[in-house]
């Protein structure tokens, strides 16, 4: 989405910049345009804070899985299946 050459951007363009900002640095021009839009548009402002919350939640989820704070246990059946697969392939 090219916003070069204009100062006022649309919601469609603003949301794109908000999205981009989640993982990439915006240029100075992009930051300024987004800022100008967000002080005028409550929907995009809302969108920005919600998308940021979602990004944070995903990061938190990944961290919690890595730290074993979320653990989904294998059933006994699944464990048996996995163990016998390992045994079988060790003998091969």
């Amino acid at each position: 989405m090219d916003t070069k050459g204009k100062i006022m951007i649309t919601c469609e363009e603003a949301t794109y910049l908000i999205s981009k900002k989640q993982q990439d640095k915006l240029s100075h021009a992009e930051r300024l345009k987004l800022f100008m839009h967000l002080i005028m548009c409550r929907y995009c402002y809302r969108f920005a804070s919600q998308v940021t919350l979602i990004t944070k939640a995903i990061k938190r989820l990944k961290r919690r899985i890595e730290n074993k704070q979320i653990k989904i246990k294998l059933t006994e059946e699944q464990q048996l299946r996995l163990n016998s697969a390992i045994k079988k392939h060790r003998c091969d």
């Binding site: 649309t10 993982q23 989904i72």
Partner: protein, 190 residues
């Protein structure tokens, strides 16, 4: 420092790492059977590559790295040979002047209260997120998983999925728009 060399012990893998690998897999793929398959493939690949294990990392880190690769393969294969259909995206913004590019009334983001943040921090989030990702077109879901969950580099994803980087950015953006909608209407504001 002289640390003990790590010796691999496949007989203890399921007991020691089964749950953590399964949790990782199930957070990435929606189907428990598919997740179990990925864990099994990981163990078998581990057995095959035991000679390649240099002991620089722990057994667990090594196995998770293998699983990660399996997840990436899974999404790459899913996305392969699929056209990128951007038009499956519902039109969220006005098409005609003078309000071209502004939110359509039905698609304006709703206000979220404090409850929303509590929900996003709950363990339920993992399941809702997966359900919402599942609803995305396959190629979008793959882009999202590889970039956001697996944190693969942009160039790598473009190569694997055969798309341009600007394509990837647009896909990720549309995926986010849709994901936000899905979370809002199916969970936060149900």
């Amino acid at each position: 420092m002289n640390s003990q060399p790590v010796v691999l012990d496949p007989d203890s893998w399921v007991r020691k790492y089964g749950d953590i690998l399964y949790t990782y897999a199930i957070s990435r793929v929606n189907d428990p059977n598919r997740a179990e398959d990925l864990v099994q493939e990981t163990f078998l690949a581990g057995l095959k590559n035991m000679a390649g294990f240099k002991g620089h990392s722990s057994e667990q880190t090594w196995l998770i790295a293998i699983l990660k690769r399996k997840v990436v393969d899974f999404y790459r294969q899913k996305a392969r040979n699929r056209e990128v259909k951007l038009e499956t995206n519902p039109q969220r913004f006005k098409k005609d002047k003078p309000m071209k590019g502004h939110w359509l009334d039905t698609f304006t983001p709703k206000r979220w209260d404090n409850e929303a943040q509590i929900k996003l921090e709950s363990d339920e989030f993992m399941h809702i997120l997966k359900r919402c990702i599942e609803k995305l077109p396959i190629k979008w879901a793959s882009c999202f998983m590889l970039r956001i969950m697996e944190e693969m580099k942009t160039e790598e994803i473009c190569k694997e999925l055969n798309i341009t980087s600007s394509n990837l950015w647009v896909i990720l953006h549309r995926a986010r728009l849709q994901l936000r909608d899905c979370l809002e209407s199916n969970w936060i504001k149900e």
